[in-house]
Symmetry: C2
Subunit: 353 residues, 2 copies
């Protein structure tokens, strides 16, 4: 840290992204990426834009916003697109949470929420999950705080029902409820259908997982148009050209091929069910995932040890050191071939230990 760094942020602990070691070719099951490449239309759109990079992108991202609006049954002024969903989450924290509307979110969830809260000097409460790692909706009902819930939650993979989400939204009319649906396309129900009913609901999604665009950085939020206007006030005060030309075009093209991506999601779900069954056969306890990853532990091997043994054998999974979850590993669901390799490798590791 330099002696010039502001006192205000001296205690900030940044987010730690999943590792990307370059010493060898790994089977990457640690950052919840899709194993499927983007559709052909995406490549064509990107190539076209690459010839026009000297021109600024459309700060309104009209084309991709209109397609999102169409697919999700809302108006385009109810949609904002951003440089990944991290950006719109940060904007939403800045816009809707403060000393008077502090944050509340689970103690085990997406690791970026407390970071955004610290960065923006917003007080926050972390509510423990129940013993079975589910979120207790009662903790958030009538909380009178700005609620942030990842649904399905990460890294547990467990979802709340749409009824529970609606109860939380309905019971906090004076605060925004942010539902972060990064993984919703893998089996949960989206709250987007509630945005016209509740003006305090903001639903955040991303193209990173279900639409194979983690490396393109495209996130979006859907809500009441006045919430979207507020988020645009922040966006135009931060980086009006936040989404570059290529990503903008890639997003619009991906939505034309939406069936391709939704079929891929079904494949991931099938591979997930297979993986869960195999892990259970090996004695693992696996949480009920509605995402493109599973969160699993075994009494036969320490969580960190399994992570390290897998890494030694060329398979990366994500291990968290937080005590409550340090026996677990978060394993991204890839292709069937990758999952078979994973199960074979774990079988070997267990035999050798």
């Amino acid at each position: 840290m330099s002696r010039y760094f502001t006192e205000k942020l001296k205690n900030l602990t940044p987010y730690t992204p999943g590792e990307q070691p370059k010493d060898m070719q790994y089977i990457k099951l640690n950052t919840n990426e899709s194993p499927f490449p983007p559709s052909q239309a995406v490549g064509e759109a990107v190539l076209r834009e690459s010839q026009k990079l000297q021109l600024y992108s459309d700060p309104e991202s009209v084309s991709v916003r209109e397609r999102i609006a169409e697919i999700y049954g809302v108006k385009s002024n109810q949609v904002i697109v951003t440089n990944g969903s991290d950006e719109v989450l940060n904007f939403a924290f800045m816009a809707f949470a403060d000393d008077k509307s502090p944050l509340i979110f689970p103690n085990i969830t997406y690791g970026f929420y407390p970071v955004f809260a610290e960065l923006n000097h917003i007080p926050y409460t972390e509510k423990p999950l129940k013993d079975d790692f589910t979120i207790d909706a009662n903790d958030y009902i009538g909380a009178n705080k700005t609620v942030v819930i990842a649904n399905p939650n990460a890294p547990t993979g467990i979802m709340l029902s749409l009824d529970e989400i609606e109860n939380i939204v309905k019971s906090n009319p004076d605060n925004i409820v942010i539902i972060d649906e990064a993984y919703v396309d893998f089996g949960a129900q989206s709250a987007v259908q509630l945005v016209d009913k509740y003006d305090n609901l903001l639903v955040v999604q991303t193209f990173s997982k279900s639409r194979s665009m983690a490396g393109a950085r495209l996130g979006f939020a859907i809500g009441n148009k006045s919430l979207i206007a507020d988020l645009n006030t922040i966006r135009y005060s931060t980086n009006p050209y936040n989404v570059n030309r290529m990503t903008d075009a890639a997003g619009a093209a991906a939505l034309v091929d939406n069936d391709y991506y939704m079929t891929n999601c079904q494949t991931i779900i099938k591979n997930r069910e297979w993986t869960v069954a195999e892990l259970e056969k090996l004695g693992f306890e696996v949480l009920d995932s509605k995402t493109n990853f599973v969160f699993a532990k075994s009494d036969k091997i320490d969580g960190e040890k399994l992570y390290l043994e897998l890494k030694n054998r060329g398979i990366l999974v994500r291990h968290f050191t937080k005590e409550i979850i340090c026996q677990y590993n978060r394993i991204t669901i890839g292709t069937m071939e990758q999952m078979q390799k994973l199960i074979e490798t774990i079988t070997l590791i267990l035999e050798e230990n």
Copy 2:
């Protein structure tokens, strides 16, 4: 504004980007874009990455940072790359300015500085330019504040000498001096050569103008490695994957073709000198520009009127309503053909008025 928008930001006035009207095909001389497309290597790099968008980008952007370091004669840990230079400017304001180190910058300069200051609740002083629109270096020497200077300045196009910049940096040892060199490749001297001498100097540049990548969004900053580490603390607390795969690769490829871009800059300079001479023949007063734009006014026609007349005839230039500069228009330097068309059109407008 929704009733949920935080009190803290209610008075925030966002930045206004240059207009992008879609009603007809304009000659766009209003956002300082390059008239030259990116080099062939950029297209190839982007196409390659477009096939791998399902994978996250390198959060360290190693390849492009190493190439920047090589070209500018620094180490790669002295370089940070961001989603356009707006992002790193915002990060720098967050990291290095606060109540104890308030900001100081010219009253006529890049319009985003006061916006970032308001967004981050940082007090700021705007120092008037001299009557000839030059920056008075004495206003910043020993200011004991966080100094931000666009060099060359916008929208005037006028540069400060490297000696003046060094005097400002040297005389503010307890504060960061940010030199925003978005336009430096069009004839000014870069302060990058001073970063190893002064640990309080941060130089910001962009690929948007001289490297034909406005639509790709790639900015960077160079400084002492401890300053860069501080900026990375903010980046990892905001959006670690801030630069997407395609832009990252495009940036690295552009630097391999650096000669192409630097030759384009020479062409722009030549076109600028021609345009200045022609405007002066028409009776315009043109400030001494070291950028890819000129800032010009004429006693024969009101500034806003000229802007509107040009727009009616299919040529966009940038007009600012701020009183001190409202008689001027900022005109981006394009191809010789575009400049000829501009001069012809202005000639006609003046004849008709």
